[in-house]
Symmetry: C2
Subunit: 118 residues, 2 copies
Amino acid sequence: MNPDALRGHMDALLLSVLEREPLHGYAIIEALLERSGGALNVPTGTVYPALRRLERIGYLSSEWATVGGRKRRTYRLTDSGRKRLEGERSAWQEFATVIGGVLRPEAAEVSSVRAADG
Amino acid sequence: MNPDALRGHMDALLLSVLEREPLHGYAIIEALLERSGGALNVPTGTVYPALRRLERIGYLSSEWATVGGRKRRTYRLTDSGRKRLEGERSAWQEFATVIGGVLRPEAAEVSSVRAADG
DNA sequence: ACCTACATATAGACAGCCTACATGTAGACT
DNA sequence: AGTCTACATGTAGGCTGTCTATATGTAGGT
């Protein structure tokens, strides 16, 4: 997966995996890996700063917990974050439709096709 | 359309509009606008440098022409560029499938659904 | 002692899309 | 003559988010 392609979609991904339940960073990475069937292996250097950014903006809140002697910072969606997720979802729908439409082979000829031609 | 979302997809877009016929920069911008139903209004400061980059890499070739007293630099796909376009298309398919899959509401519960609900 | 998995964090590199600006022709309107 | 819009290309510099690399530390297995 080309790293640049993720640009501008990371927030949606993060917000989405946190929709059902709060998770800590490491678990979020594993959730993305699992939900994507192994395609999304996002490095910690991407996820942790992104989570902090989303918290700073107000879409997430976090709290520390200690489990099995290890410290975790668990993130959860705020109300604002939940609204944002909805927005990100519809933005994705539009984005995918637009790009997919332009990328479709011979897209511009569809409306002017008269006879099937190999 | 969030600018960052385009990151890493611009090349595919550009290559795609040049598939059928060679076009100059200004016409490419108009083609993107038209094919996207008005959604993709890409600034010249994005398109011209991108076209030069794609030419430098070898996916495009260009030549100058004068039409109606105005100079145009017309770009066309090279064989290499045509191959690249195919690659970009399948990359897009995978990308859209993966992101769409992760973003789908309640995606993680699909496999554990027992009774139809809603 | 060493390795792997778990867990968080930061610094700096890198790349590409954007805003803003510079330059110039053609044609319409006043 | 002056102004405006559309057409047409181009560069400089800003911005921002993802990545690589590194640092730190616990727990558990061999």
